[in-house]
């Protein structure tokens, strides 16, 4: 760094941040030399700065001429002080809330990691509530999230690689993995892809996900989402790599297979039989949620002879006098459901109950009474709407698929449903996520992985890590 007088450096800094009124430059005299501490009042722990840095500097009474080394090693009391000679680097750190200490005549500066941004404390995430098991959840602060992981992984094998992404946001992105388990090729590929990201800003982990996906134009997710450290650590122990983004409480995990979304952290904190039952229930609910509206339309429109006589009579009785075809009727109800869902997300929380009453009770009931829709169609749309939430991370995708199959069923009948189902599976079979086949361990079938797929075998039976996830250490416990 080119040597400049302290006044010049400070003036330059103030000019650079002339639009930032929260920049504070505190000028000091340290022994015989002039010094200055610059920091952003909005991003720095001022208490720590005063006690650990400024007070010791003011109190400095020794005769010896102060140097950066002397200040770093003997004077300041901050636990985390580092010497930096690169202007860009200390400016970047300053923006991240780290105060910078300039000493007149020194080409280096001293910087302290005492940043403090507003944030919340770990709490149970509303999207991942559990009955048993840990309740801590990630927050928007990267350090806290890393500490939550480190709390559970006390091993030097825990590797954390940090990157800065975003021209304006300089968001910290961390790759976390267990060195002796994770596949090095995947780590390298992720590192390379993260370094290649050229974007103005990263506001959430989803931004990063978009750049790391293998298939960009697909509606299928290719990363696991986790808002709880126990889930992330569980996945890291299986060989996955976690991606944490500063400012986002959602950690991404990769490689991802579809089966992961049928699993739930609760499954591992209760008896295996219950976990197995719940996974089958989720699979059943997912299939029914996606296919039932389309199948209902197909049956009523084209294949009514499929229905048992008593059921057929019920359907015929309820559909008499309805102005819409079953196809339009079902689409109308599903779209109504989607609108209610979207509105309920955006509405103030205190209006939620009112919306539920207006939407579900008044609208539905009135529509039936007015003869616009039939009770079976409402029942099917409502039932499948609820079933979508048995796989909450895929709810948006399933919702779209439900509409697509409803359209296909209306146009092509059960033949269309069959074709649609084959295409859907073929499409997913063609996908992979960093070497993991999307439909694994069912296709390709990996026998050893089936112990933790739709069945949840007791922990003592899971001797190996999933083969479907590339990893470099297969053994999990003594065989």
């Amino acid at each position: 760094m080119q040597e400049k007088s302290l006044d010049e450096t400070v003036a330059e800094l103030q000019k650079l941040f002339s639009n930032s009124p929260d920049l504070v430059v505190r000028k000091l005299k340290v022994g015989t030399k002039k010094a200055a501490v610059a920091f952003f009042a909005s991003a720095t722990d001022i208490g720590q700065l005063s006690l650990g840095v400024i007070s010791p500097l003011i109190d400095y009474k020794l005769e010896a001429e102060p140097t950066i080394e002397l200040l770093a090693n003997e004077i300041v009391k901050s636990a985390n002080a580092s010497k930096i000679g690169n202007k860009d680097e200390y400016i970047q750190n300053l923006l991240s809330g780290q105060p910078v200490l300039f000493l007149d005549g020194s080409s280096q500066v001293l910087q302290f990691r005492i940043d403090q941004f507003a944030g919340r404390m770990p709490a149970e995430p509303p999207t991942s509530t559990v009955i048993n098991g840990p309740r801590e959840g990630f927050v928007e602060t990267l350090e806290i999230n890393i500490s939550l992981i480190r709390k559970r992984l006390r091993t030097p094998d825990l590797a954390i690689k940090s990157f800065k992404v975003g021209k304006y946001t300089a968001t910290r992105v961390c790759l976390c993995y267990i060195n002796s388990i994770a596949d090095k090729k995947i780590v390298k590929k992720l590192e390379q892809k993260i370094q290649e990201i050229d974007i103005d800003g990263v506001l959430d982990s989803f931004y990063i996900e978009s750049f790391l996906e293998n298939h960009t134009h697909t509606m299928f997710k290719q990363f696991g989402y986790a808002e709880k450290p126990d889930i992330v650590v569980g996945k890291m122990l299986e060989g996955r790599i976690a991606i944490l983004v500063d400012g986002s409480p959602i950690a991404l995990t990769v490689p991802f297979v579809l089966m992961e979304d049928f699993q739930n952290s609760n499954d591992y904190y209760q008896k295996s039989a219950r976990g197995t039952f719940l996974r089958w229930l989720r699979l059943f609910s997912t299939i029914v949620a996606v296919l039932l509206p389309g199948t209902y339309i197909a049956v009523v429109l084209y294949h009514y002879k499929i229905l048992p006589v008593k059921f057929l009579i019920t359907i015929v009785n309820t559909t008499q006098g309805i102005p819409f075809s079953p196809f339009l009727e079902m689409l109308f109800i599903i779209m109504l459901f989607e609108i209610l869902y979207e509105a309920s997300l955006r509405m103030p929380r205190y209006l939620g109950m009112a919306l539920a009453i207006v939407g579900a009770l008044i609208l539905g009931d009135t529509a039936v009474r007015a003869g616009l829709v039939t009770p079976p169609a409402i029942m099917i749309a409502a039932l499948t709407g609820v079933m979508l939430y048995t796989m909450p991370d895929q709810q948006h995708l399933l919702s779209l698929l439900r509409i697509m199959f409803a359209v296909i069923g209306g146009l092509l009948g059960l033949y269309g449903i069959v074709i649609g189902a084959i295409f859907l599976i073929a499409y997913m079979a063609n996908m992979d996520s960093y070497g993991a086949p999307y439909l694994g361990p069912f296709s390709p079938r990996i026998k050893s992985d089936l112990k933790d797929a739709l069945t949840n075998s007791p922990l003592t039976d899971k001797k190996t890590r999933p083969r479907v996830i590339p990893n470099s250490n297969h053994r999990r416990q003594k065989q």
């Binding site: 499929i306 006589v309 069959v418 295409f423 296709s443």
Partner: protein, 363 residues
């Protein structure tokens, strides 16, 4: 790049084994062999195995070379091109058959009326997609649906059991063995689909137990076919020949049509999966050899061309299952010729010292 594992290959071979034999075929052999149709099916399965085993051996012997490369290595590129084209054209006829049979199946089970474009476009879409994506996607898709199709078929058979009268198929060989053998001979073109596995040569990950797995899967598939025809014959007796759509007809005799579920419909729906997947597998195999032989960078193009050709041929026959059945019956000599030639080719690939690298796996 390896696209298929042992299990997927075995499942594909089962689809190829049973795909053309559950709708019109049982009635056809019943017409020829009367109540000895079950023996015809038994001999047909034996013929299938006689073709399948050499195919499996040649796949094991050439784990890293495609069909075209293997043939070109022995007989030269021009010959390999000609052989590939002839085989593709021959097996395209099977795709035509599957298309017509699927249409007949849908018309007789699900729809009173099914407009041709409504039928052809969706199956074209999914078949061409599978073929364009290659063996890996087709294999994985078949692996997922295999259990479902199997369950549907087993339900069909079980639900028909109460209507079975075993005296209908007795005594066996009442008119000697000739009708049974005649059934096999006349219906030659319905067999030999396992030769399509040759087109996946070099793309199969040959692992330990490949042969065992393929034989077990096909053995069980063959056993199912025999049981299916046995039940079909035992239910319909000498009238079996008049019931042209075996799997549909069998579901109609079930006494289990209850007030709550219609299991037989589930069976029909699952067999629709079976037929569409069989069409997809055949197209994928044909496309695979064309892509490899002509180094085509966009596999969707030959896949689409092949499908259009098959659909056009089916259209010429007016999607008439009786028409294509007669055509197939009359073309048995062509079938024998192609099978004999294919087996000779397999022999060349098997015995030649210059063959592909020896498999490192102990089968």
């Amino acid at each position: 790049m390896k696209q298929l594992n042992c299990r997927q290959t075995a499942i594909i071979s089962v689809f190829l084994l049973i795909g053309m034999k559950l709708l019109v075929f049982p009635s056809l052999i019943s017409e020829i062999a009367l109540h000895d149709a079950v023996y015809t099916m038994l001999f047909t399965v034996a013929v299938e195995f006689a073709i399948l085993l050499p195919v499996l051996f040649v796949l094991i012997k050439n784990p890293d070379r495609t069909f075209f490369e293997a043939v070109a290595g022995k007989l030269g590129k021009i010959t390999a091109h000609i052989i590939s084209l002839i085989l593709v054209l021959f097996f395209l006829s099977k795709l035509v058959y599957i298309l017509i049979e699927t249409y007949a199946f849908l018309m007789n089970s699900m729809f009173y009326q099914l407009v041709l474009p409504i039928f052809i476009l969706p199956i074209a879409f999914v078949s061409v997609y599978l073929a364009a994506k290659g063996g890996r996607t087709a294999g994985r898709t078949c692996e997922i649906f295999f259990g479902l199709v199997l369950a549907g078929l087993i339900i069909t058979v079980i639900s028909a059991l109460p209507s079975v009268n075993l005296t209908n198929i007795l005594p066996g060989f009442e008119f000697g063995i000739t009708p049974s053998l005649s059934g096999v001979w006349q219906t030659m073109l319905w067999s030999g689909n396992s030769l399509l596995l040759l087109f996946f040569m070099g793309k199969i990950k040959i692992e330990k137990g490949f042969l065992r797995k393929a034989v077990i899967f096909n053995g069980l598939g063959g056993l199912f076919l025999v049981v299916f025809v046995l039940i079909f014959s035992a239910v319909f007796d000498t009238t079996a020949g008049f019931f042209k759509f075996a799997i549909v007809n069998l579901t109609q005799v079930t006494p289990y049509i209850s007030d709550i579920v219609r299991l037989e419909w589930l069976a029909l729906i699952t067999w629709t999966f079976g037929l569409v997947l069989t069409a997809g597998i055949i197209l994928t195999a044909l496309n695979s050899v064309l892509v490899s032989a002509y180094k085509i960078s966009k596999p969707i193009i030959p896949a689409a061309v092949l499908f259009v050709a098959a659909a056009a041929a089916a259209y010429v026959i007016d999607f008439n299952y009786a028409g294509i059945t007669n055509l197939f019956l009359e073309s048995k000599f062509a079938a024998i010729g192609v099978y004999a030639f294919s087996l000779l080719l397999i022999g060349i690939l098997l015995v030649s010292k210059k063959g592909g690298r020896k498999s490192e796996i102990n089968i």
